[in-house]
């Protein structure tokens, strides 16, 4: 069965015509800088594209099977964000399989560690242990801007 070789989160993946992948900006945390007093709702999503990129080593015969890569994002309180993304593997004998799951936004409704979890399914059954890594969301509250100009006493 497919064995994981790489699984990372990054801002962008560039795939050359010959299939060589370049990963841009591997990240492990998201910092949100907002004025003090700003309320971030539970369903907030930062409009930043990112990707979960993975590479898998096949075993003989894997090219004859239908595997799906499933990716799930969990909030710090372990509730799920969005749907579980499912993508079919394209497997060729003796070649590594590259999977690029692009996601259009990152949830920011809770501060803390989000979990990115990926696993393989065959016939709608989980057949591998999940690969899991964390992305931390940190909220930095800055001093609220004051509208009035300050007057320096003489």
């Amino acid at each position: 069965m497919l064995k994981p070789y790489v699984c990372v989160a990054c801002e962008k993946v560039i795939i050359a015509q010959d299939g060589v992948a370049s990963l841009i900006a591997l990240f492990s945390k998201i910092i949100l800088t907002i004025p003090a007093g700003t309320e971030i709702p539970r369903d907030a999503v930062a409009p930043k594209e990112w990707a979960v990129f993975s590479i898998w080593d096949p075993e003989p015969g894997d090219d004859l099977r239908k595997f799906f890569l499933c990716t799930q994002i969990l909030y710090p309180d372990e509730t799920q964000f969005g749907q579980i993304a499912k993508s079919k593997f394209n497997i060729e004998p003796n070649k590594r399989s590259q999977m690029n799951m692009q996601i259009q936004g990152f949830p920011i409704g809770q501060a803390g560690e989000y979990k990115i979890r990926s696993w393989i399914e065959e016939n709608d059954k989980k057949i591998s242990d999940p690969i899991q890594f964390g992305i931390e969301v940190i909220m930095n509250f800055t001093a609220a801007p004051t509208g009035a100009s300050t007057v320096t006493p003489p």
């Binding site: 801002e11 900006a25 591997l26 990240f27 492990s28 945390k29 998201i30 910092i31 949100l32 800088t33 907002i34 004025p35 700003t38 971030i40 709702p41 369903d43 907030a44 999503v45 930062a46 409009p47 930043k48 990112w50 799920q80 964000f81 969005g82 749907q83 259009q104 936004g105 990152f106 949830p107 920011i108 931390e136």
Partner: protein, 117 residues
């Protein structure tokens, strides 16, 4: 067949957005609400109310901001959500592995290089 709401971009309307059909997501009544306001104005009003789901229960794991982004309308996401930056907390040690796979010559087996007389 399903249709997309031109206001909130909900992609699964059962009926075309005309003839007084109502979007279950943003509550726009087509032919009535959009007679008085443009779709953009209705969208801004819906977002101004924090983009709530209107009728019944929303689809599982529905998110209004992802719905807008997937329709190419990320610019409508509140600006405080946009103040996010990706960063790494990893430490880095760079090294150059110059000795890997290079033959280790001793004085006894130095390669013979012809030298001009």
């Amino acid at each position: 067949m399903s249709y997309r709401c031109p206001v909130c971009m909900f992609p699964s309307l059962l009926y075309p957005p005309t003839n007084y059909h109502i979007c279950p997501c943003c509550s726009t009544e087509f032919g009535n609400d959009d007679a008085d306001f443009s779709h953009q104005q209705l969208r801004e009003m819906w977002i101004g109310n924090r983009a709530p789901w209107f009728f019944g229960n929303p689809p599982a794991h529905w998110n209004p901001w992802m719905q807008l982004m997937q329709a190419g309308l990320a610019s409508y996401v509140p600006k405080e959500f946009r103040a996010a930056s990706f960063q790494s907390s990893a430490v880095l040690r760079q090294s150059v592995a110059g000795n890997i796979n290079l033959p280790n010559y001793s004085n006894q087996n130095l390669p013979q290089i012809p030298v001009a007389a």
